[in-house]
């Protein structure tokens, strides 16, 4: 039985890397990027504070725009909190509304 199991595993592995391209229409391309995980879920942060401008700076672009979830990997509930925090921080001049080039 253990032998069988091991066999199954070794058979399964080589097949897989070839799998994704074969499974046409898959959302990922041939090479897949490392999956981004939500920074806040990982660190178990429940409150996104507008006072932490340094931290919020990671979630805005060079022009001062809020970065989309697809770029930062933040989960939806946390992205909403981040967006509110950034807007508050802008209001009190901790973060820019826009930066001139």
């Amino acid at each position: 039985m253990p032998m069988m199991k091991r066999n199954n595993r070794t058979e399964g592995r080589p097949a897989r890397p070839a799998g994704p391209p074969g499974a046409a229409g898959g959302p990922r391309r041939q090479f897949f990027r490392r999956r981004k995980v939500c920074k806040f879920c990982q660190e178990k942060i429940d409150v996104v504070d507008y006072k932490e401008a340094r931290m919020l700076g990671q979630f805005i672009s060079e022009r001062g725009k809020i970065l989309p979830r697809r770029l930062t990997g933040t989960c939806a509930p946390h992205q909403r909190l981040v967006a509110v925090a950034i807007k508050r921080a802008r209001n009190i001049a901790l973060l820019p509304f826009a930066t001139q080039l």
């Binding site: 897989r16 994704p20 897949f32 990982q42 508050r88 802008r90 209001n91």
Partner: protein, 141 residues
């Protein structure tokens, strides 16, 4: 009674003792209008992200207090008429804190339950430190 957090910016050209006076004055407005001060924090001189009233820097002060809407109204009105205060932001924080406490509690309960069934089924938090195992999983999908 709700809990509020007020952050305001004082002009950078205000002398030190004036700042002190202004802060205690503002504190007086809060307590005078039925508020209960919880925390006063001087965050110090910071660069502003954009110019406010031609200033590029500002002296940040943070108040945390419990009060009613009249307290906030009064404080905001006073700050608006005080020239040395160039910007302020009021945030109500009791709801947020309640939410955070609830989440933390839920997590603690989950954690308490977990040790029994910690083998495989809930892989949501445990395997994160070991990042690489994620990748073969991704291939499967």
């Amino acid at each position: 009674m709700h809990k509020y957090e007020v952050m305001f910016i004082i002009r950078p050209d205000t002398p030190e003792e004036e700042v002190e006076k202004l802060v205690s004055l503002m504190e007086g407005f809060v307590t005078g209008a039925g508020g209960k001060m919880e925390k006063i924090e001087k965050l110090g001189r910071r660069r502003l992200a954009y110019r406010v009233e031609r200033q590029r820097e500002g002296f940040y002060v943070l108040f945390v207090f419990e009060g009613v809407h009249a307290t906030v109204n009064e404080l905001e009105r006073r700050m608006r008429v005080t020239d040395a205060v160039i910007k302020f932001l009021t945030v109500r924080i009791d709801e947020e804190q309640k939410r955070a406490a609830k989440l933390a509690k839920a997590r603690a309960e989950k954690q308490a339950k977990r040790p029994k069934a910690s083998t495989q089924p809930p892989p949501d938090i445990a395997p994160i430190p070991a990042a690489p195992p994620d990748e073969p999983e991704a291939t499967q999908a």
